[in-house]
């Protein structure tokens, strides 16, 4: 038994390839047999992945989901930001640049609006739950943008560590729900063309959420959504602790 475990741990990236392959196989089967193909296999695979991540995190108390179990450590490499970004960039191969140029205004506006709207909504929710000081409202608002913008803003404006932790949780909730809900809301928001995907990426901003959500909806939309989402966190870190916080402080005192 120890020998088996140590072989698996030494080859954790290979375990990850095999594990993901099995997960996709099971998901494909579930898609065909349980949903008659209505819910795409990749959407099911992502939901199963998230469920396993929740289970892994709950059993180990770690931060990396299933990768906290030593034999599944390779999932952290396979699903880490380096290979994720590598795969995202590769999806751009063969993309028609004129489509992106044509949708430039939509893309830029979506990033700005996405940051501002998430910030306002998050700040209002914070206030509704009794966090009425400008620092906490700004931090939670920034967390509603992404879980990176939250702590960056919180640290810059001097928010408490409990509030910063809440802002990370808000960002994580958003990212997880975007992954799961995108295929379901796609028909409602007419998310079926490159331009809508660019607007979606810029408005949502969470790279992992958009990468997962669009993969589950229609893979061909991925490069367009990822293109705008990738600017969101930077813009959020720029606006959150500065313009948005100062405006908020002027409003709530």
């Amino acid at each position: 038994m120890d020998t088996i475990v140590s072989v698996l741990e030494d080859n954790d990236l290979l375990v990850a390839f095999a594990a993901v392959g099995v997960l996709m196989l099971v998901s494909g089967w579930m898609s065909r047999s349980l949903t008659r193909g209505r819910l795409h296999g990749s959407a099911i695979a992502i939901i199963l992945g998230l469920a396993l991540a929740g289970w892994g995190g709950a059993t180990t108390g770690g931060e990396d989901g299933l990768a906290d179990l030593a034999i599944f450590g390779g999932l952290g490499i396979l699903g880490g930001s380096m290979l994720r970004d590598f795969a995202i960039v590769s999806t751009a191969y063969g993309v028609d640049l004129s489509v992106i140029r044509r949708s430039g205004a939509t893309g830029v506006l979506s990033i700005l609006l996405g940051v501002v709207v998430s910030f306002i909504v998050g700040a209002v929710v914070a206030a509704a739950f009794g966090y009425t000081d400008a620092e906490s409202m700004a931090t939670i608002g920034a967390g509603a943008a992404t879980y990176i913008v939250g702590p960056v803003t919180g640290t810059a404006v001097g928010a408490g560590s409990d509030v910063i932790a809440l802002s990370v949780a808000a960002g994580l909730v958003k990212s997880v729900v975007v992954m799961v809900a995108t295929p379901m809301i796609a028909p409602l928001i007419r998310l079926n063309n490159p331009k809508a995907a660019m607007a979606f990426g810029g408005l949502m901003g969470t790279t992992s959420g958009v990468a997962g959500g669009l993969a589950a909806t229609d893979e061909r939309l991925v490069p367009y959504g990822a293109m705008t989402a990738t600017f969101f966190t930077g813009v959020g870190c720029l606006l959150g602790p500065s313009v948005l916080y100062v405006t908020l402080r002027a409003l709530v005192g």
């Binding site: 390839f17 993901v20 494909g28 695979a45 992945g49 998230l50 469920a51 396993l52 991540a53 995190g57 931060e63 990396d64 989901g65 299933l66 999932l75 396979l78 699903g79 994720r84 970004d85 795969a87 960039v89 590769s90 999806t91 751009a92 191969y93 063969g94 640049l97 044509r102 709207v117 909504v121 998050g122 914070a126 509603a144 809440l166 949780a169 994580l172 909730v173 809301i185 409602l188 928001i189 007419r190 331009k195 809508a196 607007a199 810029g202 408005l203 949502m204 901003g205 997962g212 993969a215 229609d218 893979e219 061909r220 990822a226 293109m227 705008t228 990738t230 600017f231 930077g234 870190c237």
Partner: protein
């Protein structure tokens, strides 16, 4: 050789990340600003130019297409390593804030997509990997 495609892809991402970091430093934020986006634009421009000169044959192309076809498995691995436990234990405020931000942003997608000339919906996709392969065939014709 396949590795030329992989190397071109890696170089594009490395250069993109460097641009993103430099931009972050220039505007004074502690984050990478659009590194992946710049890498994507770079990949499209560079491979287009190489292809026109006949310097990016199908074997090189396969190095890029492999990673593109690994995209979904990588995203599934990413999903399985998310900090879902913390998202769930963040309490009602974190959940409401995250959900509300999603709903507000989603509602704006059709509004923003209306700017400028409308974009046609993509044709229905074929099952599984076929869509990707069809995508690559289309590229070659262009």
């Amino acid at each position: 050789m396949v590795v030329y495609g992989v190397a071109a892809l890696a170089l594009c991402l490395l250069i993109g990340e460097l641009i993103g970091e430099a931009l972050g430093i220039a505007v004074g934020v502690d984050a990478n600003v659009g590194g992946v986006g710049f890498a994507m634009i770079l990949l499209v421009l560079v491979t287009d130019r190489l292809r026109r000169r006949g310097l990016f044959p199908e074997s090189s192309e396969r190095g890029v297409m492999f990673w593109s076809s690994m995209y979904i498995p990588i995203v599934v691995a990413m999903a399985s390593t998310q900090n879902v436990a913390e998202a769930l234990t963040g309490g009602p405020m974190a959940i409401v804030a995250g959900l509300a931000a999603l709903v507000a942003a989603a509602a704006l997608v059709p509004v923003l997509a209306r700017i400028g000339p409308p974009d046609d919906p993509l044709p229905p996709r074929e099952a599984g990997d076929d869509a990707r392969l069809a995508g690559s065939a289309r590229t070659k014709e262009a």
